[in-house]
């Protein structure tokens, strides 16, 4: 069965179907992370004492990760812009950089986790670490998910550009929207967990 409106906008929604789809998915993601942020606020305000994030976590590493993630948000959008200009080669380079940024983020996250584990700080240690591992872990899984899609778009999925460039461009756009959301979540996670 042919999927309709993969390139052209559907007249009644004004959007191509993939775009509406990703926004509905992101709406559900807002609720998922919203529930966790809500729990964090409740746990934190209800606790007698709550440690400052900077006392326990590595702020310089997390700052570096923030730069990496916002940088990758730019490269994915530059990839999309290049596709709209018909420059597939440049688009692939930008997509490749985005994928590498995702990898860099995960490596730094692994170093952070590794250091914590080596000092015997686990999710079961206390409420702070429980929240920290839960939220950064779920966020990390989202980064990993984005990387899988970028790898697909660079690898087997890249063939689509030759036959259906418009559709491929839209795929990069919706993946980008997801990636910006992952960036957005980190923008709030970083100060709340590390800086306060």
């Amino acid at each position: 069965m042919e999927i309709p409106y993969t390139i052209q906008a559907r007249p009644d929604t004004g959007l191509y179907n993939g775009k509406l789809g990703i926004w509905l998915f992101l709406a559900s993601e807002v609720m998922l992370f919203g529930a966790l942020f809500s729990s964090l606020i409740l746990l934190r305000t209800g606790a007698e004492t709550w440690p400052a994030g900077w006392e326990r976590l590595n702020v310089p590493l997390a700052t570096l990760n923030t730069f990496i993630l916002i940088g990758s948000s730019v490269t994915v959008i530059l990839s999309w812009a290049s596709l709209r200009l018909g420059d597939f080669r440049k688009a692939k380079i930008y997509l490749g950089i985005t994928l590498l940024c995702g990898l860099g983020f995960m490596v730094i996250k692994a170093i952070e986790y590794g250091t914590k584990f080596s000092h015997h700080y686990y999710p079961s240690t206390d409420t702070f670490y429980s929240v920290y591992y839960m939220m950064t872990g779920l966020h990390g899984l989202h980064v990993l998910g984005g990387m899988v899609v970028f790898a697909y778009l660079l690898g087997p999925g890249a063939k689509m550009w030759e036959k259906e460039p418009g559709r491929y461009t839209n795929r990069v756009e919706v993946t980008g929207l997801y990636w910006h959301f992952v960036d957005l979540v980190w923008i709030f996670l970083f100060p709340i967990l590390y800086l306060l």
Partner: protein, 100 residues
């Protein structure tokens, strides 16, 4: 989408790079402020204010929400309403315990 002219896409690209510079600057500011170790509520308000500005930049420019179709905005407005209920509900109940 693909209907846009080359000039327009190049202009958009300059906007993206400007937004990136602003995000990087705000990240530096929020980290620098955190090293001042300001008192509780001031620190929280400042960190969340900066994060909100960064969030606005990402959502507004990178995700094109400033120029997005009405349906997407409607979906998100509805989501925000549910999100507020989600945030408010447990918070409210936490201060409404028997004997508390």
């Amino acid at each position: 989408m693909s209907g846009h002219s080359v000039e327009e896409i190049k202009r958009e690209t300059r906007v993206y790079l400007t937004v990136f510079a602003a995000l990087a600057a705000l990240t530096v500011i929020t980290v620098a402020v955190s090293y001042l170790h300001l008192s509780g509520w001031v620190a929280i308000a400042l960190a969340l204010a900066i994060a909100s500005v960064k969030g606005f930049l990402v959502a507004g420019f990178f995700m094109h929400l400033l120029s997005e179709k009405k349906l997407v905005i409607a979906v998100l407005v509805l989501t925000v309403v549910f999100l507020l209920v989600l945030l408010w509900g447990p918070w409210h109940s936490a201060y409404d315990s028997i004997g508390g």
